[in-house]
């Protein structure tokens, strides 16, 4: 193997998310909105990236493409070396289940399930044995500091606790990438700080995190900050 090839392999292995000249257009009446205009971006394994910018700059569109929720109009999106921009709905659903964890601004916990059951939900879908589901869900709840709240329903938990359950749920299937869309948006400053701290701990334990936020403190806690404007990355595209 030549030195150049070896370097390339190492690079490919290190890069978890790779976008190349990605465009995303939406029809809006008779016109087209260019939500993303030629975005190229690499996110390495173990990175903690915050995407910031004004409303309508394309942050959420970028997150949707990386999260295999949406498909680009042109360009390529790879996660873990696998093209994800042309996947069918079934392939994309299956890929998200096993490779991507989502944390939303609203927590979207199932109200009739306990915290433990909510965390175990993605594992049940992935076909893990029940005992393994229960054990891992309990471990994750302990990790986010909610071991005493396993049996509680979402309505019995505070906003911060619900978001921690949602984070534990996002980690259930050991995803390669954790995506968060305004995870502190519904929380007060103190509870938001707890979530920021939890994200930092997750990252220091090896999780790759990509977060879209307006929250300066959350963005400031990330290792890398990407600024977007008018569908383009204006700063931070290149890894420092």
């Amino acid at each position: 193997m030549s030195e150049a090839t070896a370097t390339q392999d190492v690079h490919v292995d290190r890069v978890l998310v790779s976008l190349r000249d990605v465009h995303r257009d939406y029809p809006l009446g008779a016109e087209r909105v260019h939500a993303l205009q030629g975005v190229t971006l690499d996110v390495e394994r173990g990175d903690y990236v915050a995407i910031v910018g004004p409303s309508g700059c394309g942050k959420s569109t970028l997150l949707n493409l990386i999260g295999v929720i949406d498909q680009p109009t042109s360009g390529t999106v790879e996660i873990g070396g696998k093209r994800v921009d042309q996947m069918s709905d079934w392939e994309a659903t299956s890929f998200r289940l096993r490779n991507i964890g989502f944390v939303f601004q609203r927590f979207y916990l199932m109200p009739i399930l306990s915290a433990l059951e909510n965390v175990a939900l993605p594992m049940a879908e992935a076909g893990f044995p029940k005992e393994e589901q229960r054990m891992r869900a309990a471990e994750l709840l302990e990790y986010v500091g909610l071991s005493s709240r396993e049996r509680h329903r979402p309505s019995q938990l505070s906003g911060g606790e619900q978001q921690r359950v949602a984070i534990a749920r996002a980690l259930a299937n050991r995803p390669a990438l954790l995506l968060a869309d305004e995870p502190t948006g519904e929380l007060d400053a103190h509870t938001g700080a707890e979530i920021i701290s939890l994200f930092q701990r997750l990252n220091s334990d090896g999780a790759t995190i990509l977060v879209v936020t307006h929250d300066e403190e959350l963005a400031g806690a990330a290792r890398r900050k990407i600024h977007m404007r008018d569908g383009r990355i204006v700063d931070g595209a290149v890894h420092p």
């Binding site: 959420s60 949707n64 999260g67 929720i69 949406d70 079934w90 659903t93 299956s94 890929f95 998200r96 289940l97 096993r98 991507i100 989502f102 939303f104 609203r106 979207y108 199932m110 939900l121 993605p122 879908e125 992935a126 749920r169 996002a170 299937n173």
Partner: protein, 275 residues
């Protein structure tokens, strides 16, 4: 010379209640068929003396409950059972009758017997009791069909209502469903969970409905049996009805769940989230 003891009659519950009679009371039987205030019986003592028939004092020996005959429920007739000679005398018809019933021994060829009677008896017609029962119960068959039609309309209306409720309930959870889809939960898993939930709600609802129907049935029977003084059951809840109700409810609930959930899982999650 010893006075002969009065003869006995039996009256039905309605008459007993209306005339405030009880077993052992003495009453006078009389008849005045031509008069407007036609009366067969009056409580003793009575100042009325019929011209045609001498009054006869009898004792109420029994108060009987009427049979469960729907044709008698709304008539309001008051029944007196008396000895045949008393009836002949008081009615003034003697041994003339409009109709009479014959009990036959098992195994007899009824059809042949009827044909024979109808051939030889001029101006006279014999029927099977079954045929008469069918003929007289036609009104009730119509009522029964009417009830069935109301039932079908109720079921159709309930089904539409159930579907609307399910669609609304599932619609309320569109963001939850979108989040589940984003997490990687498959469409089939979501549809299955909604169907199971809808079916459970439907079955629980039907059990509650059956319990309510059973209680309402008890009340209806208690009220109308008292009102008409009849053992007739006006409302019945049979195991078959319960089985049909629960099965139908289960089917409709599951169908409503399928329709409601398919509508949502076919919508892209981002659209469900309003993005």
């Amino acid at each position: 010379m010893q006075q002969p003891s009065p003869r006995t009659i039996a009256i039905d519950e309605s008459l007993a209640a209306q005339a405030k009679l009880k077993v052992g009371d003495r009453v006078t039987l009389l008849a005045r068929p031509a008069a407007e205030d036609y009366a067969v019986m009056t409580a003793t003592p009575s100042g009325y003396t019929p011209s045609a028939t001498p009054p006869e004092t009898v004792i109420v020996a029994a108060i009987v409950r009427r049979g469960a005959d729907p044709s008698q429920v709304a008539r309001g007739d008051l029944l007196v059972r008396m000895h045949l000679d008393q009836l002949q005398e008081i009615s003034g018809y003697g041994d003339r009758v409009d109709r009479f019933a014959i009990a036959t021994k098992p195994g007899l060829r009824i059809g042949q017997l009827l044909d024979h009677i109808n051939d030889v008896a001029f101006g006279f017609r014999a029927y099977r009791s079954h045929d008469i029962a069918v003929e007289t119960s036609r009104t009730f068959q119509v009522v029964s069909r009417f009830h069935r039609a109301i039932g079908v309309i109720t079921i159709v209306a309930s089904s539409v209502f159930l579907l609307c409720i399910m669609v609304l309930k599932v619609e309320e959870r569109r963001r939850d469903i979108a989040a589940l889809r984003l997490m990687g939960i498959s469409r089939s898993s979501i549809v299955k969970s909604i169907i199971v939930e809808a079916a459970l709600v439907a079955v629980l609802g039907s059990i509650l409905g059956v319990a309510l129907g059973w209680a309402a049935s008890l009340f209806v029977n208690w009220h109308y049996q008292g009102l008409y003084r009849t053992p007739l059951e006006f409302s019945i809840v049979t195991p078959e009805i319960v089985a049909v109700a629960v099965s139908l409810s289960l089917f409709l609930g599951a169908a409503a769940g399928v329709l409601a959930s398919l509508r949502l899982v076919r919508t892209p999650p981002l659209v469900l989230l309003g993005r």
